[in-house]
């Protein structure tokens, strides 16, 4: 009788909650939903996600990390089908310390004639693939997808490691409800961080519980001097406190993707759990979390980092010969930097440790980014310079949330001189002193001095990159235009120019230049300083058909011709994330136009100077001056920071568009 009552109660409870967040308990109401909160742009949404991480005690192994994931995804339209293909990545190097995925099951639910129809994912629909030496994936795509269907999947990831994967609290589709729970036994103490750059900030709470755990272990007991041992099983039942971190979130907005963002993950709402310290009963605390100072020091003490800095024997002779006649520090830096760049090529790998030792990299002439820049630092030190390695996090690696070795994935070198710091990256062909490749222009760097002490340094260039253009042209009788252009590119502009055009044939560079306007013909191209670090100087002659409009007896001309695209790159009305320019810049155009015989100036656009705001962030100016024979125009546009914050984007967009609009204004020449 009591049993019956329970069942009845259970049924009632089931009915009163339309949504049941257990695997398999998909409701008709959920299947009947046709849009996500009336938003038709949402083609799929996570109705429910559960992520539960705990440490279970396993006899002979100790505490093992278990992560259970369960997700229920609603697919509203065909474009949402891609959300039913999943790829689960796990560490498996075929050794004892490997992760495993178990209990993977998945079901598609459709509503057919008012009835819920289930289609299970079969095991032959799960594809295991070995990615490389360390990583494997299990991939699957769900069967029998139809618009309006729901898919569910769940699995358990078992890991022997203390490290906890980043917990994504946001996806590229919205999440209706998310329950996250992390439990760690009292012996393991974690710190938690939420991504402060995220637009959606979750609320996270803590609690403490206790669990009863049966410990069992084998103790080896020696049997006198006979050499035989016998193991003895010890069993005890204890109450263990668990610290819990949990999040119960609803209506999490989708992570929006936008153009001109360096790494979208920097803006994702996420929770990061860092192992802080271990504290076993009757044993001292073992500190694992750390400060950036300690992280740097640990890295430095590693043989594959600090140990590589004083190996000189294999390059000694070559470096000696290189700098023997040089007494100037700058010259030595240049010589060594160039020598190493041509000697050892980057193999595309990033990392903070030397892979097989710098000696091997030197001899085989290829190495990782760490190999190359540790070698560079070592050589510079050998030459008597005050050089130190600098730890960097690439744009790909993002901005770390707490002090950890994984927070760095890249190494550069810095030289301290009375004039200031010189930053060098010999793993990039076109980087020059203080001009780092774009991948390294992220966050800040940690410079480690001899002995392992370290300090933060600024990586973002405060130097303004300049593009100066001098253009002279004549309007010919046949209404074509012919002229000459001289360009000068400095710093990052020069870096980009070299990256794009080094070793590219003159013909191909001309093709690129000619793309700026349909009937532009370029000749006599000359480029200087391609292989040194001076500003790039480019000059060429050009002729242009269809540059101007002749209407009646008047000539209408946009004086900038093809120099600046009249199409604005800023088409979005608002943005969620900043626009990254990587460096401050100034673009300057000095233009001299010869007025054709028999014409006079009828109309000149007005001079104009506009500031973005009162904080000296950006300014443009447009100055025209005409005489009888010629017109001079000077245009300049500067931007004194390396990014536009999202909130200021609409203002910046309007400002930039007013700049382009100004440039499109016409000079009118009238026939005399």
């Amino acid at each position: 009788m009591r049993k019956l009552i329970t069942i009845v109660l259970f049924v009632i409870v089931q009915i009163s909650f339309a949504q049941n967040f257990k695997f398999g308990k998909v409701s008709k109401e959920e299947l009947q939903e046709t849009s996500y909160m009336s938003n038709e742009d949402v083609n799929a949404a996570v109705l429910y996600r559960e992520e539960y991480i705990t440490f279970e005690f396993v006899s002979d192994k100790g505490f093992i990390q278990k992560k259970n994931v369960f997700e229920r995804i609603k697919i509203y339209s065909r474009d949402g089908f891609k959300n039913a293909t999943k790829s689960l990545k796990y560490y498996d190097s075929d050794s004892r310390n490997s992760e495993t995925i178990s209990g993977l099951k998945a079901v598609t639910y459709n509503l057919e004639n008012g009835k819920i129809q289930k289609t299970k994912l079969k095991s032959n629909g799960i594809f295991k693939e070995k990615k490389n030496k360390y990583w494997k994936t299990q991939k699957f795509t769900m069967p029998n997808l139809k618009e309006g269907c729901i898919v569910e999947y769940e699995y358990t990831l078992t890991s022997p490691f203390l490290g906890v994967d980043e917990v994504y609290l946001q996806q590229i589709i919205p999440i209706k409800k998310l329950d996250f729970r992390f439990e760690a036994p009292e012996y393991y103490n974690y710190k938690k961080y939420i991504n402060p750059q995220a637009i959606y900030l979750p609320s996270i709470s803590d609690e403490e519980i206790s669990k009863s755990i049966t410990f069992s272990s084998r103790e080896e007991a020696g049997m006198g001097g006979s050499g035989t041992t016998r193991s003895q099983k010890q069993v005890s039942k204890e109450s263990v406190r668990y610290k819990v971190v949990k999040a119960n979130l609803v209506n999490i907005p989708a992570l929006k993707e936008e153009p001109m963002v360096s790494n979208i993950n920097d803006y994702r709402s996420k929770l990061v759990l860092e192992i802080d310290f271990l504290k076993y009963p009757n044993k001292p605390i073992k500190q694992l979390s750390t400060t950036w100072e300690a992280v740097a020091s640990t890295i430095y003490e590693n043989e594959a980092f600090g140990g590589q800095l004083d190996k000189t024997s294999f390059y000694k002779d070559e470096v000696d010969a290189l700098i023997t006649n040089s007494s100037d520090n700058f010259e030595k830096v240049g010589l060594i930097f160039n020598f190493l760049k041509s000697k050892v090529k980057w193999n595309g790998f990033v990392g903070i440790y030397s892979e097989n030792g710098v000696r091997k990299a030197y001899n085989s002439q290829t190495g990782s980014n760490a190999d190359i820049n540790l070698l560079l630092t070592s050589m510079l030190r050998y030459a008597g310079l005050n050089a130190n390695p600098v730890l960097v996090s690439t744009k790909e690696n993002g901005v770390p949330l707490f002090p950890t070795r994984d927070g760095f994935d890249y190494v550069i070198s810095a030289i301290e001189l009375p004039e200031g710091l010189i930053l060098l990256d010999a793993s990039s062909t076109f980087s020059s002193p203080n001009i780092l490749p774009t991948r390294a222009l992220n966050w800040k760097g940690r410079m480690i001095k001899e002995g392992g002490t370290s300090t933060w340094i600024n990586l973002l260039s405060s130097n303004t990159s300049e593009h100066k253009v001098f253009m002279n042209y004549t309007i010919n009788n046949d209404l074509t235009v012919s002229g000459k252009i001289r360009d000068q590119f400095t710093d990052h502009y020069a870096y980009k120019f070299r990256s794009k055009f080094f070793n590219v044939s003159e013909e191909s560079i001309i093709d690129v230049l000619q793309e700026k306007s349909p009937e532009l013909m370029v000749s006599d191209l000359d480029i200087k300083n391609m292989s040194n670090y001076k500003p790039i100087l480019q000059s060429y002659n050009f002729t242009l058909n269809n540059a101007l409009d002749k209407i009646g007896d008047d000539i209408y001309i946009s004086p900038m011709l093809f120099l600046v695209s009249e199409e604005s790159p800023f088409k979005q009305e608002i943005r969620s994330y900043p626009i990254d320019f990587n460096h401050p810049f100034i673009n300057e155009y000095m233009i001299n136009i010869s007025i054709p015989e028999g014409y006079k100036v009828e109309n000149l656009p007005e001079n104009k100077a506009v500031k973005l705001d009162d904080n000296n962030v950006s300014m443009f100016s447009y100055l025209l001056n005409a005489s009888e024979k010629s017109i001079q125009l000077k245009v300049s546009f500067n931007f004194n920071y390396s990014a536009v914050p999202a909130a200021e984007y609409p203002t910046f967009r309007q400002y930039y568009n007013s700049y382009i609009e100004k440039l499109s204004e016409k000079i009118v020449l009238k026939k005399l």
Partner: protein, 630 residues
């Protein structure tokens, strides 16, 4: 016997090695081979031994000098393999500019990865490849491989010119047929190239200059030399096949690859029979079945074993709701069979570029499958990998080309539907309210037909936000365009797509004192400017023509007077016709434009005229009128 052959072979190889030292020096390459080349194939010796219908040994010695970074992809030091392949030898040596050996790679030094292409969920094909980071250019890589294939269905072809911007010093191709099976050979495009045919099974090429890529040109494989080979009796991943001609080969495909895959579950049978019970003609039935298939499936590619050629079982497609082109085509065929409609599985080369199946040479060709529906004397073609394409629509992907259809009695080569230029139409009309400050408000309507239907139709599936972005980019000559309202109508029966867009912008015309300079071609400025070549070497090929018609009514405020208009323009050439005009009535301007491009093949000497035509169009699309404040 095998062992001895192998020993002799490797001995010869060593001899060649010691004799041709200069091969590894980059300095001695002649200027004519370096011209326009990013890499030079110094030597490419392909030696294929056919032991029997299910055993083939491929050996290749290859020496490539890479002149610059862009030439690195031509090293070609990789080998693909699967369960029916054994990579017996794999080795690479790298030499510097002087021919000094600087690095050696043994088999285990090659990287091994899954050969999954984009869009494929899983494939059991893998690839071993050389990952060498060049220290200096030029450098030379010598690559040697020997591979044993149990499948003989895909005998490697010979293409001594390996692509654009790469020249060939020496290349040879020797087929050694030790089996008693007939080996078919077809050699093409030798004229004008320095190629020697030693025998029917032995070819060599010397000093082939690099070819530049040119726009509007025919497919590369249509004009460069190649030799194809195929066995009359072959093995495909464990299935024995025969191929004396297309008919025979088609029959084999039907019997060995398709026949046992056609069963579908009883419930699905009943469903399609019920759906089509009121349909009167085969065509009506086919359309219902096709749309049923579209609603039940999606495209996911999984390639296992013979999966490259044999479709997934129709009953699995039915259950899973996904498959690749073969599986989906075959599934549709199986469904049609249940309602008594005959259809033929079809193999072809798909893509925007038109490429034919070589009708004179029956062999494993093609990269895609569609379904052919006989309709009186004609055929209707069904693309089964798209869930949205209208019944029988094939433009831009499978149109106008030779394909292989598999009839029960055997294979046959036929030509797919061609989309004629004037049918590929886009009609843009608009009512525009121009403001005295140079901005405007407009209602624009665009109708598209034929191949242009396919280019426009996809917009409707973008998110609202992306649709707005699409129009901002489509009309990228108008800065700060506000896209206010977008509505679509997709008539899948008539195959017409209609867009209606409300737009608004504060500033469009540019200022010149108290005048406004206005381009009355608000919504369709041609941006096609063919590249200029000092010496055009290839013919001009336009795969599909089109016709654009524009008509705009522009309302001018009373505060502005029209100061100057332009005279009607008409340009007429063999490549197409163009006209535009503007007229003024009361406070209205009427702008009309027609632009026709003909599809066709033209001689290389005509290129400049072709370019000039499109330049004229671009120029006239930018003609301006002057309005002045009263």
């Amino acid at each position: 016997m095998n062992k001895i052959t192998f020993l002799i072979f490797s001995f010869l190889f060593l001899q060649v090695y010691s004799q041709e030292g200069p091969l590894y020096q980059s300095l001695i390459i002649s200027d004519e081979l370096k011209e326009n080349a990013n890499a030079v194939i110094r030597l490419n010796e392909i030696y294929i031994t056919i032991e029997s219908y299910d055993k083939m040994i491929y050996s290749n010695k290859r020496v490539v000098t890479v002149l610059n970074e862009r030439g690195s992809s031509k090293v070609g030091a990789y080998v693909g393999y699967d369960n029916n392949t054994t990579v017996k030898k794999l080795q690479a040596l790298v030499y510097d500019v002087n021919g000094k050996e600087i690095k050696k790679f043994k088999k285990r030094d090659f990287l091994d990865e899954s050969a999954v292409s984009g869009g494929t969920l899983y494939s059991d094909s893998r690839v071993k490849y050389l990952n060498y980071i060049p220290i200096k250019y030029p450098y030379t890589v010598e690559f040697y491989t020997e591979v044993e294939y149990r499948s003989t269905a895909f005998i490697p072809n010979w293409e001594p010119l390996e692509g654009f911007y790469v020249s060939t010093e020496n290349s040879s191709y020797i087929l050694d047929n030790k089996s008693n099976i007939e080996l078919k050979i077809k050699a093409s495009n030798f004229d004008g190239f320095n190629i020697i045919k030693d025998s029917r099974l032995s070819y060599s090429a010397k000093r082939l200059k690099a070819i530049n890529s040119e726009s509007y040109s025919p497919n590369f494989e249509e004009y460069v030399p190649n030799v194809k080979a195929a066995l009359v009796d072959f093995n495909m991943e464990g299935v024995r096949g025969s191929n004396t001609n297309w008919k025979d080969f088609g029959r084999w495909i039907n019997e060995s690859l398709l026949a046992d895959t056609q069963n579908i579950p009883e419930s699905v049978k009943q469903e399609v029979v019920a759906l089509t019970k009121d349909a009167e003609t085969a065509l009506e039935k086919a359309k219902i079945v096709y749309e049923y298939m579209q609603s039940k499936t999606r495209y996911i590619s999984v390639q296992i074993g013979i999966g490259g050629w044999k479709p997934m079982l129709a009953k699995d497609v039915s259950k899973l709701g996904y498959s690749d082109c073969k599986g989906l085509t075959n599934f549709t065929k199986a469904l049609l069979k249940e309602v008594g409609v005959e259809s033929y599985y079809t193999v072809l080369y798909a893509g925007d570029n038109i490429r034919d199946i070589d009708r004179d040479f029956s062999a494993t060709q093609g990269n895609h499958a569609i379904l052919c529906l006989p309709n009186n004397d004609d055929y209707i073609w069904l693309e089964c990998t798209s869930q949205t394409v209208p019944f029988g629509y094939t433009a831009n992907f499978t149109d106008d080309r030779d394909v292989l259809i598999i009839k029960p009695e055997g294979g046959e080569i036929v030509h797919t539907k061609k989309y004629e230029s004037i049918g590929n139409k886009q009609i843009t009309t608009s009512k525009i309210y121009f403001t005295e400050t140079g901005g405007f408000k407009a209602k624009v309507s665009i109708e598209s037909y034929g191949s242009q239907y396919g280019q426009h139709e996809r917009i409707q599936r973008k998110s609202k936000k992306d649709q707005k972005m699409h129009y901002k980019n489509y009309w990228n000559h108008i800065n700060n365009l506000d896209v206010n309202l977008v509505t679509f109508e997709n008539d899948k029966n008539a195959i017409v797509f209609s867009e209606a867009i409300d737009v608004e912008v504060e500033k469009y015309a540019s200022n010149a004192g108290d005048r406004l300079l206005l381009n009355p071609n608000f919504f369709n400025i041609s941006e096609i400017i063919p590249k200029e070549y000092s010496y055009r070497t290839l013919p001009i090929k336009i795969d599909r023509g089109f016709l654009d018609i524009d008509e705009y009514e522009i309302d001018i405020p009373e505060s502005l007077i029209v100061e100057s208009l332009f005279k009607p323009i008409r340009v007429s050439t063999q490549f197409g016709d163009y006209s535009c005009s503007i007229t003024h009535e009361n406070n209205k301007l009427i702008y009309k434009r027609e632009f026709l491009v003909n599809e066709g093949l033209y001689q290389k000497e005509e290129y400049e005229a072709f370019r000039e035509f499109l330049l004229q169009v671009a120029k006239n699309d930018n003609l301006k009128i002057v309005l002045k404040l009263k």
